[in-house]
């Protein structure tokens, strides 16, 4: 741990944004659950580290049908939110991991060693979340789908979404509380009646399931269609083949649960 490193500890969102700059060469640490094992094992030797622990980005606000979650809100602070976001957050790690792991880290997580990361990506895609971030070109607010494409270059500030009329979350049981999610499907019925579906674990990061969404009138058909929406990986937790077998089942269950929660 003797490596010389520049450590920045901003005490306000503005300070965090200016410390991040355009993000070049900056390693961002939210709760540390992803970065610290890399540092401890010597795989990562950051030259410039931005610790967000005191940056004042941990708020969770739920009012007027709108939810706003700060970048460093711990996942444990989200577990009581309505489905799919709350149950999805509750399905991550154990209480001590959830108390440290942050929303921002979850959205910006790399692909991981042999398993997909970023559980909340699926749930937040389903509810149509908007990501407010900083970086090169200044602050932007954009749909999560767009954010995920360049997530490693941005500093998440907060995420917001309109509460859906109904939500659902179904996941394969994890073999152990510390395992990453093998496969999960989130569903949301928005205020306009449209249904959005997204999966975690069906690729390197969370993906929407547009072909399945187009077929939601028939859950069986929607389940089969979902397999066209994803390119799952073989990894330590499951094979791509297995994930493609299970995905239609989870989509059907999610749509059934969505009806029950309506």
């Amino acid at each position: 741990m003797a490596a010389v490193t520049d450590v920045l500890l901003p005490t306000s969102p503005d300070e965090a944004v200016s410390a991040f700059g355009d993000g070049t060469g900056v390693t961002v640490v939210g709760g540390g659950t992803i970065v610290m094992p890399e540092i401890s094992a010597g795989r990562l030797r950051p030259s410039r580290t931005l610790l967000l622990a005191r940056a004042g980005l941990a708020g969770v606000k739920r009012e007027g049908g709108k939810v706003t979650i700060g970048a460093t809100a711990p996942l444990e602070a989200l577990v009581d939110l309505p489905s799919p976001v709350g149950p999805c957050a509750a399905n991550v790690g154990d209480i001590e991991i959830r108390s440290r792991a942050t929303l921002g880290g979850n959205l910006c997580a790399g692909e991981g060693h042999g398993a997909p990361r970023g559980d909340l990506q699926g749930a937040l895609l389903a509810v149509g979340a908007q990501v407010h971030s900083a970086g090169s070109g200044g602050e932007t607010t954009e749909p999560l789908e767009d954010f995920l494409a360049h997530r490693r270059e941005r500093l998440v500030l907060d995420v917001s979404y309109d509460e859906p009329a109904a939500g659902a979350f179904v996941a394969l049981d994890r073999p152990h509380t510390h395992e990453y999610t093998v496969l999960a499907v989130s569903a949301a019925r928005l205020a306009d009646g449209s249904v959005r579906l997204a999966a975690t674990g069906a690729g390197s990061w969370g993906v929407r399931l547009p072909a399945a969404e187009a077929a939601v009138a028939d859950p069986h058909e929607a389940g089969e269609a979902a397999t066209q929406d994803v390119t799952p990986n073989d990894d330590a937790l499951a094979s791509a083949w297995y994930r493609l077998q299970v995905l239609p089942v989870l989509v059907r269950r999610a749509l059934t649960q969505l009806e029950e929660n309506a």
Partner: protein, 153 residues
Amino acid sequence: MRLTVNGRAHEIESAPLTPLLAVLREELTITSPKAGCQQGGCGACTVLVDGKPVRSCLVPVAAVNGAEVTTLEGLGTPERLAPVQAAFHDQYGSQCGFCTPGVLMATHALLERTPKPSRDEIEEALAGHVCRCTGYVKILASVEAAANNGSVS
């Protein structure tokens, strides 16, 4: 940087990204938090930071500058065991002892927030704590005993 550990204030000289676990064990020679997996997956390094259980291997010390840290050494003494320690002692909840400090800190925190936890709540609270000796029957009985003034249902 400063930390208050088990009621005693310390100036910290470790580098800012040093895991809290390494600060406790190597700089302050407080060795009840164990360095197991060092990636947040075993629970053996669990301590309380401002009263909340955390994996000390995942926390860069700079992120908790000024915090109050409680380790197992701060719960009780050999002459005067804390209730969770007494219950684990009475119920044979510890075998080799490596996971025990983390389990005790998590149990202490559980009973602070939920004084009479159900079996499910106990299992949920300890789900991240890996014991390689005994299995979990004695551990769960010990937690139940700690919640019931020493008796097991």
